[in-house]
């Protein structure tokens, strides 16, 4: 099946490079007091942090200012930011520490995406693919 002495290691290498990357989605609410530049810098900081730790950015989406359904920290609006990325599982814990330290972030959530979610997000981004597949 495999050449002797090579097979298992080869498999391990493949798994280390590709299959350990999980799909995640990060949603962050920043305080509405941020200026446009600060908002962009804060987004960049998060996406850079993911790429520095061996992750790949799939998509990022800045929703901008939105009213919250209920007040958080006496604020009724927030700057939303959604980041879809692939990373190894240990990145999230580090990312969470970063976000908890950041005073501008009033709420954050990381969701693991299954294969249907990845498909759904891809279709949402470019609906033309939907007809082709």
């Amino acid at each position: 099946m495999f050449p002797p002495g090579e097979g298992i290691n080869h498999l391990k290498n493949i798994m280390a490079t590709n299959n350990n990357l999980q799909d995640y989605e990060l949603m962050v609410i920043f305080t509405p007091v941020l200026s446009d530049d600060d908002y962009k810098n804060a987004q960049k900081k998060l996406s850079d942090f993911v790429t520095e730790n061996g992750g790949q950015i799939v998509n990022q989406d800045a929703w901008g200012l939105r009213s919250l359904a209920y007040p958080i920290n006496k604020k009724t609006t927030g700057l939303y930011y959604v980041l879809e990325f692939k990373a190894q599982h240990d990145v999230n814990a580090k990312l969470e520490i970063q976000m908890n330290r950041n005073e501008h972030i009033i709420r954050h959530m990381i969701t693991r995406l299954d294969k249907f979610a990845v498909k759904y997000n891809g279709r949402k981004r470019n609906p033309s693919v939907e007809h082709a597949s």
Partner: protein, 88 residues
Amino acid sequence: MAKQNEIKFLTTQRVEKRPKKYCRFKKMGIRYIDYKDGEFLKKFLNEQGRMLPRRITGNSLKFQRKVSQAIKKARQMAILPYVTDLLK
């Protein structure tokens, strides 16, 4: 012999027949429920922002669970309220 319309029953028969409920996710082939889409999730909430039970929505157990998880995520991220009045 009595004709069909002359037969009288002791108990009253229910004439109206409700259409059978179905799981819309199974029917439409939706596999993933997005927590970011608040307007869609509002279909599964009542006026006070509480989740509707399965016997009303008709969802299958699998998708009711996914709906509830999506709603709870949306609530955490302030896309949907925990409690309100007059949601719709």
